[in-house]
Symmetry: C2
Subunit: 383 residues, 2 copies
Amino acid sequence: MRYSSRGQVDPFIVMDVMEAARRLEEEGRHIIHMEVGQPGTGAPRAARVRLAAAMEQDALGYTVALGRPDLRAGIAALYREWYDLDLDPARIVITAGASGGFLLAFSALFDAGEAVGMGIPCYPSYRQILKAMSLQVKGLRTDASTGFQPRPEQISEDLAGLILASPANPTGTMIQKSALSDIAAACAARNVALISDEIYHGLHYDAPAISALQVTDQAYIINSFSKYFSMTGWRLGWMVVPEAHLRVVERLAQNMFICAPHAAQVAALGALSPEGRAELDENRAVYAKNRLLMLEGLRAAGFDSLAPADGAFYIYADISAFDWPAKDMAHAMLNEAGVAVTPGLDFDPDEGHRALRFSYARSTADIEEGLARITAFMARHRK
Amino acid sequence: MRYSSRGQVDPFIVMDVMEAARRLEEEGRHIIHMEVGQPGTGAPRAARVRLAAAMEQDALGYTVALGRPDLRAGIAALYREWYDLDLDPARIVITAGASGGFLLAFSALFDAGEAVGMGIPCYPSYRQILKAMSLQVKGLRTDASTGFQPRPEQISEDLAGLILASPANPTGTMIQKSALSDIAAACAARNVALISDEIYHGLHYDAPAISALQVTDQAYIINSFSKYFSMTGWRLGWMVVPEAHLRVVERLAQNMFICAPHAAQVAALGALSPEGRAELDENRAVYAKNRLLMLEGLRAAGFDSLAPADGAFYIYADISAFDWPAKDMAHAMLNEAGVAVTPGLDFDPDEGHRALRFSYARSTADIEEGLARITAFMARHRK
């Protein structure tokens, strides 16, 4: 049976790490998971209580394609709280995860063959989804000098779109308001559609992240209930789109998704409640503690070139100094020390062999144990 | 801000009907809903109980991209029961609804610009999803003589794929095994990828529907928990793909969806349980009763050209004899009689102005009341 060429997307390197970790666990080894990009916690209790009650009263059939009005209103209230923005709930589109948001955004904005830019390193699925949709990927090389964010002069007119991510995965870095403003202006000047991936908003450890919506209305904002809201498996996200794009996006959503999962929409209402938010802020306090332990512990273990880790729950380490390919180092760290980490290659096919991503989204006890193992592992290998 | 041309998909005509019905309800009118394509029932009790218990014990984070192994095994068992087939659970891919299945299938199989055929009338989103993915739509005209299913000689070599649906929406017709076998052979001979939409399987009223898997392994089978399993809003479906396609589909699923909603996967396990199945079979008994009432009542009201209604919960009526455009007739039926029905135009842009689709997925009391209103309405207009 035939295949398409656009369907031949790259495998994730991290899947090999996860599979190797799983096999070791089956053999009885205890593994510390610093490779996974999801919270160790589940949905807040208020989310689960809300859904349990709704399941007794409501058939939970299709919602309208743009999502439940009460949820859209709840998200608009969040924009008031987080960014001091007065956002019309009509501009909010509830999506099947951020993944669903990207599929809708790319369909609404780009035709087959067009090129979309993004800073490298980046979330690997950007590249693969673009390929599956017959779009070209244009990686824009970034480095520590701009916090691994692209520069306005990299936004050329051959681009149809630009994906920006702040806080970014894998680096955890955030873009400053003036730099974001310059990027938005460059996009507007060159007719480049700006897509701002803000799925790690809410997870910051000093100043909060800036939304592209604070500098322009002419952007697609993509967000999710997976990270700060700790609801990964529920597959729920949202977009904010320019008012003029609403009808186009609504029609695409009706046909491509019908609606986002109704049960997840109900649970999200609980997550947005004061009780839900209180639990989520406790989760964030754990990440904040983990982050400090990680920054200190990794430096003590010899990783002295770390990205700033402004937000999200990742630390990206430049391991050039060790002259040890990331894949091999990750392999050894897993097998010898029982700590699973992600080699940089998924995020950066060209330079990622010189980087590791450490996630600190699990419990503090796991972080402490993991750091002790990493320290011993590094000491052994630096002899 | 820029738009794509592929994102400019058609609106649903039925949305206008639903919006008009909603406005009448706001004004205090009582409306019988025969326009909607979803069960009036929610998920079976066993599904809700299972999820409620799981929410207390499990974080419900991401599952692997192909879905929970226990759910894939449960679906394989269903293939043994329904079709007497021994299906390897490894070939089953859990998807975000049938919608997610189509997005994965079209990405894996077709490159931009290729043409995909389908019998007309058909589910309107086939056409729109194909357009959003830069694929060409080739409608194959069908009629009552083949139960509104395409004929093998319509499968030409310029097609990259063919979508088949049995039981079909909007007609409710099913394809016979020999005809399905001929279609599969024609597809294989002309290198046309066969996609069999089987989302209404389980909802038959005489002989059960035949799966394409009973005549070939070289097809993508798309199914869903939305119809027989009565879980529309949960957005859960599955695909069966040829063994050689598994890795391609898995990588696409990892990137495009990460996974299908975990909560829905847990609920689906409950729906597959003996208690769940018993409740679903009671739902089907209601549809069976409704169907007989509808066939008799619509004929008595003057609709004497009805498609066979072998399965699903639709009756497609040819209204040519009335010389009344479907959109106008649906409008009058809603406003005068308070019965919402779907004009055929969404399913068949060329000929659908001569057809109405009636859904009988709601309660029997609704069906009886709706038929009484339709009968009076038609009597008034035939004077």
